[in-house]
Amino acid sequence: MTTPVEIEHLYKSYDRGGVKFWSRTEAKPVLEDISLRVGEREILGLVGESGCGKTTLAKVVLGLEKYQSGSVKVNGLELKELTKAGFKKLRRQVQVVFQDPYSSLDPRQTVRQILCEPWDIHALYADGAQRENALRELVRAVGLDAAHLNRYPHEFSGGQRQRIAIARALALEPKLLVADEPVSALDVSVQAQILNLLKDISRRRALSMLFISHDFAVARFLCDRIAVMYRGRVLETAPAEELLHNPQHPYTEALLSAVPVPDPQLQKKREPVETKTQRKRGSCPCPYAARCRYYQAAQCRVPLELKQTQEGHFCACAVLPFQKEKSLYAV
């Protein structure tokens, strides 16, 4: 069995364009020294603020963005070495669900056309009756019915559209699903339906998933493991439950403290950790140093490195993981 995703020491920066001669500074990397692994049937959550590079990382895994150095293996294939034909083959195994179901479905195609397009491209289910059966099964799997097949996306609500997008991603029976904030554009009552659906489907179809979210509660519900990203780096990874019970990186703690809880009494007692810029980062290698409340000039100078602090728990902080006290914001 091959590992669905294996990333080692990945670096990526965007070319700024313009005349090379004049730009003295190197392009700033948007992904820096990232090593991650998504195992067989595992759901890995990527959590972080906007602009931290979660979506860029997903695009790299999908082969939609190039990268400068490091290795990204999807189903055992190194993406850098893949030819066009190789990519087409890989796409049968890796599919994606985007955040906004209003812009990710072609408004001029019926649901039938949307769902059949992947099959046309990969020459599957050429036989009419067979295809009809497969279609019916597919829409049933995502909780829609066959009557919906001849309608256009605008006739559906946000939740139903996201179901269509999920059906499209499942059409080729992929092994890996990349889901980029698939529920953040949905209403609360519908969000729960889609989360349940994603969980059921990933189990029933033995899917692996790279799940991007900015919401810890959502990530906890769905993910086996969570990686916390900040400014293009992974600062902490741990099994989902462990991360929430025992957050070790100051940034993870700050993020957790900012999540409001739907309980007036409890919420009044919670005080978010101050995360304003407090000092110049200088030559400190830690990207969070400028906002960190545990900053210690001497200790924070060592190169950033994910160190194992407990079984399966990795944290890239030079100060905090060695403190024994439990975080106030652990759940």
Partner: protein
């Protein structure tokens, strides 16, 4: 209830309809509430339930095609909807300020941030340009924008999303309004920035004794900031209660469903108790309770007749269960 003079805003039987090719559709069916001075009311509901339309009609700002078919909005005893345009203009901005949902589109991209804030101050007070500028700078500092002297002369694109939203807030608060209407002010923001902005609004609200109508779909934010809660569904108020009472014991099945379907940070769940079905599209003609098609406890009567707002112990609930059995409001 409070004495008459303590009521800052009172809305009576507000009905809003939109004209379309098929004729008129009513989207808000008679909304009534009172907001005491210094309190925060949260209006909760899913997309299409009429919460934004309600906010816009408070200041008579409905887009073309929309009209207030009936009802009154009283601010400090004055009927806002029948004010002559000049007086209405004086009220907007100075007395009642509004923050819109999208900070990316509500600032003018070709004017400096400073000029946009001072414009409001100059329009409503008779201070000099220099005084207005000083005041604007103080405000920017207050909402946490560093180096305001320099940033006053920058354009919106030079600010991040969270900063732009804070500029909107500074603009709304520049004349210390008596009432702030905030339409999903933090939906587009990260949790850390959201926590900062909520804290800022709470501080200002306590310091200036300001009232606020807070429109949101996020119940966790409601728990954080609201004194009173109004739950809207399909253009009807379905439940109204004090925030702590609502969270302790929601009476309407929709409110119960909403609270249950929230993904919790506090416990790991296997399956989320989602509300089945989708919210109704605005203007869907129907008889009976708008929530009946999705309600797990609906019976014949719910589908035939619209329940009135039952009033009990200072709470209001639009549900036949209240009439059927006093003890049926299980949590």
């Amino acid at each position: 209830m409070n004495a008459r003079e303590d009521i800052l805003l009172s809305v009576e039987d507000l009905r809003v309809s939109f004209r379309s090719e098929e004729g008129k559709t009513e989207v808000l069916h008679g909304l009534s509430y009172r907001l005491p001075k210094g309190k925060v009311l949260a209006v909760v509901g899913e997309s299409g339930c009429g919460k934004t339309v309600h906010a816009l009609s408070l200041l008579n700002l409905l887009p073309s095609g929309g009209e207030i078919a009936a009802g009154h909005v009283y601010y400090q005893g004055k009927d806002v909807l029948s004010l002559p345009p000049q007086e209405l203009r004086r009220l907007r901005g100075a007395e009642i300020a509004m923050i819109f949902q999208d900070p990316m589109t509500s600032l003018n991209p070709i004017r400096t941030v400073g000029s946009q804030i001072t414009e409001t101050i100059l329009a409503h007070t008779d201070c000099t340009k220099l005084q207005a500028r000083a005041r604007a700078m103080r405000l920017l500092k207050q909402v946490g924008i560093e180096n305001p002297r320099k940033r006053m002369d920058e354009y919106p694109f030079q600010f991040s999303g969270g900063q732009r939203q804070r500029i909107m807030i500074a603009m709304a608060l520049c004349l210390t309004p008596g009432l702030l209407i905030a339409d999903e002010p933090t939906t587009a923001l990260d949790v850390t920035i959201q926590a900062q902005i909520l804290k800022l609004i709470k501080n200002l609200q306590q310091k200036n004794h300001m009232s606020a109508v807070f429109i949101t779909h996020n119940l966790a934010i409601v728990a954080d900031i609201a004194d009173e809660v109004l739950v809207l569904y399909g253009g009807y108020c379905v439940e109204e209660a004090r925030a702590d009472e609502l969270f302790a014991k929601p009476l309407h099945p929709y409110t119960q469903g909403l609270l249950h379907s929230l993904v919790s940070l506090k416990r790991k769940e296997e399956h989320l108790p989602a509300i089945e079905g989708y919210p109704p599209a605005p203007g869907t003609p129907k008889e009976g309770c708008p929530f009946a098609p999705r309600c797990p406890r609906a019976w014949d009567k719910c589908h035939d007749r619209l329940p009135p707002l039952f009033e009990k112990n200072g709470r209001r609930v639009r549900c036949w269960l209240q009439e059927k059995d006093d003890n049926s409001g299980r949590n």
